[in-house]
Symmetry: C3
Amino acid sequence: MLPQDTNERLTQVGRGTPGGDLLRRYWWPVAVSGEVENETVIAVRLMGEDLALYRTESGKLGLMAQRCAHRGASLVYGIPEEDGLRCPYHGWRYSPDGQCNETPGEPADSTFKEKVCIAAYPVQELGGLVFAYLGPMPAPLLPRWDVLARDDLKREVGITHLPINWLALAENQMDPYHLDYLHTRYMNYVMKKQGKAPVSTERRHLEIAFDMWELGIMKRRLLEGDDPETSEEWLVGHPLLFPNTLALGGERPRLGYRVPVDDTNIIVYSMFTVPGKDGEPRSQGSSFYEIPYKHGDGSLNVETVLGTDFMACVTQGEIPDREGERLGTTDRGIILYRRLLNEQIDKVERGEDPMGVIRDPARNTPMISIPRERDAFFTHTGGMVANANQFEDDPLAMIRAKKDVRDPAHAKG
Amino acid sequence: MLPQDTNERLTQVGRGTPGGDLLRRYWWPVAVSGEVENETVIAVRLMGEDLALYRTESGKLGLMAQRCAHRGASLVYGIPEEDGLRCPYHGWRYSPDGQCNETPGEPADSTFKEKVCIAAYPVQELGGLVFAYLGPMPAPLLPRWDVLARDDLKREVGITHLPINWLALAENQMDPYHLDYLHTRYMNYVMKKQGKAPVSTERRHLEIAFDMWELGIMKRRLLEGDDPETSEEWLVGHPLLFPNTLALGGERPRLGYRVPVDDTNIIVYSMFTVPGKDGEPRSQGSSFYEIPYKHGDGSLNVETVLGTDFMACVTQGEIPDREGERLGTTDRGIILYRRLLNEQIDKVERGEDPMGVIRDPARNTPMISIPRERDAFFTHTGGMVANANQFEDDPLAMIRAKKDVRDPAHAKG
Amino acid sequence: MLPQDTNERLTQVGRGTPGGDLLRRYWWPVAVSGEVENETVIAVRLMGEDLALYRTESGKLGLMAQRCAHRGASLVYGIPEEDGLRCPYHGWRYSPDGQCNETPGEPADSTFKEKVCIAAYPVQELGGLVFAYLGPMPAPLLPRWDVLARDDLKREVGITHLPINWLALAENQMDPYHLDYLHTRYMNYVMKKQGKAPVSTERRHLEIAFDMWELGIMKRRLLEGDDPETSEEWLVGHPLLFPNTLALGGERPRLGYRVPVDDTNIIVYSMFTVPGKDGEPRSQGSSFYEIPYKHGDGSLNVETVLGTDFMACVTQGEIPDREGERLGTTDRGIILYRRLLNEQIDKVERGEDPMGVIRDPARNTPMISIPRERDAFFTHTGGMVANANQFEDDPLAMIRAKKDVRDPAHAKG
């Protein structure tokens, strides 16, 4: 049971709210690289702010407020130029830092433009994602997680828009026990109803545990039948990278970003990888596709692990009422996480860096190896699939939506 | 002219409102039997409450609140078991009375579940409809209207979702005079505009009358050309079964339930019947189909009697402003009905049973014969159709939407 | 920068608001003649009022409130009769002035109907448009602009629904400078991105000027390369007909009406004309079609002059925040226009006729010649099209949407 005011403190993402100010201390993905091609502008929305993300003809990225300061027309319809982004309406141009540097209709000697600027934010690209930072300067380093920085991985990104606040899905990640029902018994029940064989071996949790780690929380589980002396899921586990990124998988490492679009919307970027084969040309970016959380008829997708996670969170409502909830002993990860969030909000209010903000290049270079079990019962195609070997050549085939695959090289493979 | 506060008193359906507390004293259909198959859960909404209606593998029905008490996930995605409904998220199970009877993640000796329960309501099935009761206990009897209880009728149910409060359509039923225009002259005008022959003989009302009856209000009319000594429409009429069910028809009796979904939505279940032929196997349930109130292009259906009723009510707005209305002498049925509603609300506030609540099994068994005229100018396919004999073999063909017929036996017939 | 309260004063269109009372002093188009055929009723919405526009079998037009005074059913489903409009529900009939003149269900000698009336408004037809006047009586004259009144023009009307307040598009018209970017450089950029040749010669404004004129504001521009002694765009220009009608074009004159539907919606009627050829039968009305402001995929149309104007206004938001805007020297037309609007609102509040209200038949008969340049760089198909001569036979082909053309004579041409 969480009082309503604490629930708001944790869930609000707007500028000036306690939670929003915490979330602004981190870099967030705002697009897959392939979504913003050269000489293109796209609309992005992050923590309630409407922004124009552009890439110039030579490939430079920029991010600024969507409205021109002049008349309020949208810079999403602007012209990306090497010196900045130009409004389509009267040609006012903003440099990448948001300073107006040209007002074509004004007299040649006018200094008016010097008094005009709009919000602009740093943007960086890594591992096929475009990241933005909306917080106070100086910006921390963009974390070079191994999954993003390794040059031997083929990556693809599934994109899911969900009409919910970000917190429920983060809490879902701190709740190992739901694997017992949601991802095994329930999915088997769904399969049975569809006249299909079970997809998963049902195994019970004997123990769950959580350890604080420098950059987040390690989540561990001991499953029925596993040896506590050797089980990596118990000895190592895998982390939530604070504030809310999921890292998972051994040979085929994964990241799951859950980006707060506004108080009641998130975009989930699910990055899947496979090691490239010897001699295979490496994809520089990431292919991407939509992973819808509902079917065309409006019913929720409950046929995949991701789908059931989304169902369990979406059906709680936009911002779940936590005053009525009844937490049990298996929810101690959620309680721990809420306490950690509160503490980090406190730190930001005291002017300190919260957990997971990285400023030391030595820590970040060449990359940050994420501790995680090499093999988990539950990885995206691991223990969840009875006949996983059929996916050997293309382990992501089960999850990937066929439409919207834009990487032709991959599509052929 | 109805003051706004009285209008609210009569139209609000939420728990704790005067009108909502009156409506909670009755059983309401929440589904056609065929909509909730074995081992299935469906979402229903009744008087503003979101509920999960389920049927177990062995056929038992249950109805409870949609949200699991634990984390708020939806039980509509739950697993119906013989001992209750199980949440898909962590497997908490609720017995049919809403008491939590299993919390699999908790220690074996935990008594936590004993403190957890959610709202649950009685549900019964009759004549191919599933009825729910959301009021105070003990629940009254589910009325065994002859149309529901007879075993010699073939039944089908048309389902219409309307974005309006329930009262306008109830008042429409207490307004016999609109037959003169809406269902005859206007429909003939619509036909003429479409280049078709008139569908109806236009006859004027000479008299209208209303009689209080034990279980509702009898509505009577004397039409031009009819003999007041023999006309059953004048001598008998047909009732509104309080609070708002329409009963109609002789050889092919009908019921019309208008179910308050919330303040601004209703579902109309229009039950049509025909006597089965000798030796014909009887359908146990009801086939069903949608009767949309608009066409695919968004224009309202004004080609059928039901369609014109819906048009006349929908166009009054979600909750019509009654302070501006101008009632005439033909509206005395509406005035009578509003007074009756107010009196019944008063009774409920005094702790008494309102009109139409049946608690005596002798009154309800084996069934309640509804008094009604054997033959009316205006029944669903009667006087309204110039060439009604073409429908002799399948008298409902005119109204039934061809799509969504799910009873294969019927579809072939 | 416009204070929020002044912004509201200028943008609100409801009855009883300062801006709404000003706008009610003018005739507004509510339909193209062809939209309301004989014996037809259509729904129209003007300045927040929902109305029923009907035409009787003999061709007479009428306009009245949408709700019947009796029970509130919609007169849009009414029956248009020579003596007025009849409600479909109980047959109450209203004469064209809104007075109820028949209540069929009431006793023959009832005087009840004499006490019943609903709002009704004058309506007139000219040049293929239906105009309504919702202000205080006596109504001023419907302006007989030459484009409407000439009998030697073939007319067609493009209809665009925009989800914005009316003011932004009016201000766009008082902003000549945006031609430099929005309609030339930006459109050429769009063409380049699509791999197409530029559509426009890019020329710079050397001067812009505004002159008050009896019926509005003349807008003038001197373009680079033009001779100020001979340029009609500089010497004459073209007007905004107060309050907000665009008049344009020489041989092929145009009108653009931007009709305030409510605070956040407008309908733009773009009337295009070409002189009929000798001996060609004249169309009495106007053919019409939709000019959508977005493509089927939801992206805004930025491939035409009209489309880019709509984009520049729609992206400012429903009612743009003007406290944050930064006006420059090229925006002096906007500042002038806002001052004029404020002055005219003041006049209405003093009980005077505002600018553009015409009451003298001599001024209005046989028509009002609109002063405008004979040939402009920027007319609908003029200077904007590199190879305009390809449109010689059908100069509107570029703009016209092919669908929804309902004038068969034109369609063949």
